[in-house]
Amino acid sequence: MVIEKKFLKGNPLKDISEYDFPGLRRALSLGQENVIQEISDSMLLGRGGAGFPTGTKWSLALEQAGDKKYFICNADEGEPGTFKDRFLLEERPLKVLEGLMIGAYAVGADEGFIYIRGEYDLPIKIFREILEDARDEGILGKNIFGSDFDFDLTLVRGAGAYVCGDETSLINSIEGKRGISRIKPPYPIQEGLFGNPTVVNNVESLACAAEIINKGAGEFVALGTDNSRGTKLVSLSGDINLPGVYEIEFGCGTLEEIINDLGGGVSYGNKPKFVIPGGLSTAALLPEELNCGYSYEDIEEAGSSLGSGAIIVVGESRDLVEILLKVSRFYMDETCGTCFPCREGNKQINFMLNQHKNKKFTRQEVEIIKDIGDAIAAAARCGLGQTSLSLIESIFDKFPEELIEEVRHSEKVRNR
């Protein structure tokens, strides 16, 4: 029986007068290198979807020369099915602020931004108030808690562009440009916002960092599996009885157990047709593949990815073509258009999917779709393009009888 493990979750924490920032105070007394060492020891992996080690990112940023560095919290949550960052921004915003300030202190940044997607009206209001209070209380400003750490934080509202969740697009967006991705290298830690070294971290990663410094890396490392330490906020949605945000210790159970024990089982039909384990950019898993453990490595071994932790359950009798069209329209609408294989490819794929005959495709059509997908994955600069076909291709792979028209025997004979 899988139950929640609360490392990040807790009582609402929004009132700055009721919070003492113990993690930040401890960080200031530890010193920059020790803070980064502790984050590295915790083996925290970035929670936005890519899973890059946070300690490594911070330590590379600290090594960068130059007086001016920026620290950005990426709160542009937009991966369909994902709403765990909103949960933190609404319920535990002070932990997010604390993690952001710990990170800024550790890498030597004196200026930061929190980029919240424009549709998140409540989180924007909450943060606007928090920033005002924090300035009044001297939590933001000069010589924070009597140290030599100066830091100010600015809220930037996004304006409806999924691609800005990519860190280089997000940086362009803060700079007042179109939110298109940049060529890497240089990576943001080398040359990011306004040409300066910049760290971009996801909301959940920062909340984790705050708790790790607060409680010590030991408590975090003790949770989870060898390669996936700690807990993960999982967003459950789709054809499931008890949707919501759940905090799960890695390796505590299988995907199937999470869906049944926490999610209350499938709400449309008796079993899932398939499950998307990490948001719209990750490959589908069949019911018989759901006995894989919940960890980065186990889901990867099952042929998909943990992504942002958005588990979407699709019920037994759902129409696959309708879902394919939904997914492909998303990428067609949200591609930024910079890399043309992503811009034109996703458009062509949507066009081809619309050409189905009685919800079937020919083998040749499926091959062309895969071909375009390969070209996009190889040529796209950012994660949006690279993963835009993961789900669609996996659905074709896993449901060939349902989607692919077999060449009839008589035609085979005729073609000979």
């Binding site: 949550e77 937009g78 991966e79 369909p80 099915g81 994902t82 709403f83 909103r86 200026e111 997607r117 424009g118 549709e119 998140y120 009206d121 409540l122 100010d152 600015t154 809220l155 930037v156 509202r157 996004g158 304006a159 409806g160 562009a161 999924y162 967006s173 803060i174 700079e175 007042g176 440009k177 179109r178 939110g179 298109i180 967003s235 459950l236 949605s237 789709g238 054809d239 949707p243 919501g244 945000v245 449309y268 998307i276 719209l280 958005a310 979407i312 699709v314 019920g315 759902r318 309708e322 879902i323 939904k326 997914v327 998303f330 609408d333 949200e334 930024c336």
Partner: protein
């Protein structure tokens, strides 16, 4: 230190809050303030789906039809709203009261289907509830 009115997106949001859209004269001023050609300013604004260079309806209705909401029958909700308003995706009513947009994930996937009316989010909607909300928009 950057102030929030040094940040282009924040400035543009504030202009839009005042006028409901970004009028051309403001684009001229933005070009001066940020020392950019007008075409760049216009190009940046047009990139973002929540920024408008033409007046919109008093109420912007956004309905999510991403996968999780779609599985919660957002399409039926959308058809009912389209029918009630007589609008297609992206259109504004002739009385300038409503603009309708079909949008991607609004981050309330566990409470679908969802509809945003300007800044306000309505979750777990039925067709009836949605139409009631729209009837109150005057």
């Amino acid at each position: 230190m950057k102030k929030s009115n040094d940040i282009f997106l924040e400035t543009v949001h504030n202009i839009q809050q005042t006028y409901g859209y970004i009028p051309e004269r403001e684009i001229n001023q933005l070009a001066e303030k940020f020392d950019q050609p007008r075409a760049k300013i216009y190009g940046a604004i047009k990139f973002y789906s929540m920024l408008y260079t033409e007046p919109t309806g008093k109420y912007i209705i956004r309905i999510c039809d991403s996968l999780s909401c779609h599985l919660k029958d957002s399409h039926d909700l959308l058809l009912a709203v389209q029918d009630y308003l007589g609008l297609e995706d992206g259109e504004t009513s002739s009385d300038q009261l409503f603009t309708l947009e079909i949008v991607e994930c609004l981050g309330h996937c566990g409470e679908g289907p969802v509809m945003m009316v300007n800044d306000k989010m309505y979750t777990e909607l039925t067709k009836g509830k949605a139409l009631e909300i729209l009837q109150d928009c005057k």
